[in-house]
Symmetry: D2
Amino acid sequence: MMTEVIVLNGGSSSGKSGIVRCLQAVLPNPWLALGTDTLVDMMPASMQASDTGIEFAPDGQVIVGPEFRILEAAWIEGVCAMARAGARVIVDEVFLGGTDSQQRWQKALRDLQVLWVGVHCDSAVAAGREIARGDRVIGMAASQANVVHRGVVYDVEVDTTHTESMECARAIAAHVR
Amino acid sequence: MMTEVIVLNGGSSSGKSGIVRCLQAVLPNPWLALGTDTLVDMMPASMQASDTGIEFAPDGQVIVGPEFRILEAAWIEGVCAMARAGARVIVDEVFLGGTDSQQRWQKALRDLQVLWVGVHCDSAVAAGREIARGDRVIGMAASQANVVHRGVVYDVEVDTTHTESMECARAIAAHVR
Amino acid sequence: MMTEVIVLNGGSSSGKSGIVRCLQAVLPNPWLALGTDTLVDMMPASMQASDTGIEFAPDGQVIVGPEFRILEAAWIEGVCAMARAGARVIVDEVFLGGTDSQQRWQKALRDLQVLWVGVHCDSAVAAGREIARGDRVIGMAASQANVVHRGVVYDVEVDTTHTESMECARAIAAHVR
Amino acid sequence: MMTEVIVLNGGSSSGKSGIVRCLQAVLPNPWLALGTDTLVDMMPASMQASDTGIEFAPDGQVIVGPEFRILEAAWIEGVCAMARAGARVIVDEVFLGGTDSQQRWQKALRDLQVLWVGVHCDSAVAAGREIARGDRVIGMAASQANVVHRGVVYDVEVDTTHTESMECARAIAAHVR
């Protein structure tokens, strides 16, 4: 069975986006890439920093409200529909709820062939990269590094602490059918 | 019947994105906003500037290849599925194929309540704004200004030549049920 | 005497950056463009949102501290030195202190031929454009629209409320020697 | 004598910008950061992709014309003037001309206390990071990796191939007086 969706899960600044771009470059067919950032960009500005939407606290905590969850659920359905309609899709996710987050996706992806990928990165290294990037709220990397993997089950796991994005992408690509 | 999808069509630098942000601000419920730019961002870098993907010629012409069309069709299905799953969706589109482009969307949106919006802008004014923005290939505004409206049917039409984004958004919002 | 520096002053979302890009396009010689945004980007992340640096309050107020002022003074000296060394320079500024801000620049620019340009925009229109842009703290446009022009003296004044960036740029260019 | 200017030289995608942001975070005083990218952003759009300005060839080669050199010289003077006026300055540079490029800066910086820093990165690793970033012309990393260091003399050298930005920044900071 051919892989239809690749889901990458990892904390902020763990290096997921870089791996995704390398995956798009090394995989023989064109794959669409989207993720949590795409969804947040699609939301009204007022949903950011609000109780019902998504809030990026000064300490790096991300708090997600009920309105965000409703739109997210519809967005997940849409992503699955793209895959069913024939687009190969790479999803770049942050499972803030660990195993619960994975189950939400598993339910929606039920009939699709999915490759689950865990992207690990040492918490202190991710925190340093967060400062080096300069475009994220400081603290997100540290607060998410381990939480997002709690109870999550993977087909492949990569660790960007000592491995380049391209090498991680090649390791993942080897599991894509 | 409640409006489920708003489709805005207009040439590059006609002011669609600004209207979309104002619409998200004035509409009472949260609406997701996405469009051609979202799709292009999701594609592999190699699909840009390629015969099979999308090419931005130095003169502002945009040429779309067969691989792009296949991914686009799946993406359109996904956007419609988001709306069916309960997300209100604003689509920011450039109908390079005029009436053909609209028919592609109409077919996919068949059972959904859609508000079709034409965003016009005088060609010379759009060309000036393209220079003022500084982030687009020069020539796109002029080459798309009229072509994209050929044979397209609308529920509302706005013209940004002499009207601010917010005022256009309010005019459109008045037609949203 | 040839114009060596063009200083544009106006509130946030008054349309200065668009005019600057159009000026660079219509002026016969190459001009370097820089401004407050360039300076803020150059500062350490920690200087933003700090008592001693620059703070963007949630209501759109911009508060500038003593450390920011020290770096700004050195930056102004540098900009003047670029002009003395032969680069034509366009400065895109927000005179939060009105006449005091202008005097700081006048003192530094003493021996240079300067064209002072006021960029006006109706407060409500600028506030609407701020929402349409989607990348600024809401409230800056309204809070700065009039304050920045208090006591400031100009060679040319343009108003973007009903005039396109390109047309404003042409009006300014007509005063450049 | 206190360090007044830090000049980092390295090829595209060697990791200079990340190191600069980390340096700004770890150094006890506020430092302004600027570089080649700042200069290119300041230039008219028409100077890019022109014979007289700067051209980014599809193969990653960067060609710099005479008009660019004139503006660059004035810009260098300005940067030195900022430092003389009391701002601590970090310069993020790509010495396309190797030793000639360094001499241009040395001449301008004559009376200032400078820390010269070489930022190395294995060519293949830099090329992989260029793909992972997704915002650079492919080929720049490989074409610049070694050329930019030819004949250049440093006070400190770091290598990002196996060392994080933050660690490199700490090594550099140890040489700042």
